[in-house]
Amino acid sequence: MYSVNYHRAASVADAAKLLKRGDAKLLSGGMTLIPAMKTRLAAPSDLVDVSRLKDLQGVKVSGKTVTIGAATTHYDVSNDEKLKKACPALAHMASLIGDPAVRYKGTIGGSIANNDPAADYPAALLALGATIVTNKRQIAADKFFKGLFETALKEGEIITAVTFTAPAKAAYQKFRNPASRYAIVGVFVTKGKEGVRAAVTGAGDDGVFRSKEIEAALAKNFDASALDGLKVPAKGLMSDIHASADYRANLIAVMARRAVAAANA
């Protein structure tokens, strides 16, 4: 790891100020950033640690509205009793990230800010139609995830929370790489007031995306059988040592059927 200067932010405003130093980066759980720095894939001049800011922690549920602080760990999301009642699919999804030690450190804000094309949270937030709240504005998930490791976040912008309306039905199914624990394909489906949404992670050449084919089939009938014979185009899907685009296309349909079955269970 290259030399770095560490700062522990006292508040979000303090973090915003500290971020102006050199090539500073925000540090939360560090489950991606620290390994990336160790391999010198990332070499920030300064780290601004926001993981201890109480304002950024915790899950709030008010009626159907769920708000999760950006520095809430995967462990805390997966074990939050209120969330397990309001949106069990998201708590379940958080329990599938990485391994127990990683879930104790990694945070929802860190995951979506990084927007790894195989991360779980981007699919969840896209399917939930969530809003990403920053220290400057609110951004709809549909406009937030821009591509591989790219988001709508501007220089110096800090995610403070994510918020969404709990859907009537939702579920996530993931076919994971056993070594990295990332999704080879993950599909999050929701059925709410505004219809059906299905988001796919791990598969897209350009990162997380909504599947028109799945959404169209489920809009008529939110049942796994509605996806029988569904063909997802392999165009625009990743091919790598783990899986070909064709294999991923097939997995998307399989994971979508399982997710709908789980959402209806």
Binding site: M1, I34, P35, D49, S51, A101
Partner: protein, 166 residues
């Protein structure tokens, strides 16, 4: 450089470290606590697991400065003098180790796992919870047995204490 201070295995310690120093290196090189190992160095194998503020985390993926102010327990802090911690005793009894390299991380993960499952553990849960710990001797069978036995022994111990208190 930053000044850091911790409570490690019940003792206050402080020092001055480069900000890029990983917690595992601080423990091993500054404090001489070499029970915590570096295996894969890519946060997959879990041999560097220690407890930071009561949570089992990978000390190879955390800076020492990030943990400053925290309470840390390493494998050296589990036994009470010559009396092994119940998880250590169970690993010995059930031969839950072969070469022993992964053992400190396995035991730190196991103590955290048992604490989070006061209702008890079954084999499937133990195996799922060991997701982040790799044993390259592939000695999982006895590791799982040891953790199940320790979980039962500790539940009995807790009940015994409760009865004494009542």
């Amino acid at each position: 450089m930053s000044d850091v201070s911790f409570t490690v295995n019940g003792k206050r310690v402080s020092g001055s470290v480069e900000d890029r120093t990983l917690l595992v290196h601080f423990l091993r090189e500054n404090l001489g606590l070499t029970g915590t190992h570096v295996g894969c160095d890519t946060s997959q194998c879990g041999t560097c697991v220690v407890h930071v503020d009561g949570r089992a985390v990978k000390s190879c993926s955390m800076l020492a400065v990030q943990a400053s102010g925290s309470t840390i327990v390493t494998i050296e802090g589990l036994a009470n003098g010559a009396d092994l911690h119940p998880v250590q005793a169970a690993f010995k009894e059930h031969h839950g180790l072969q070469c022993g390299f992964c053992t400190p991380g396995m035991i730190m993960t196991a103590t955290d796992m048992i604490a989070r499952h006061p209702q008890g553990l079954d084999e499937a849960t133990v195996r799922a919870e060991l997701d982040g710990n790799i044993c390259r001797c592939t000695g999982y069978h006895n590791i799982v047995k040891a953790i199940l036995a320790a979980s039962q022994a500790m539940a009995k111990g807790a009940k015994g204490k409760a009865r004494q208190a009542a």
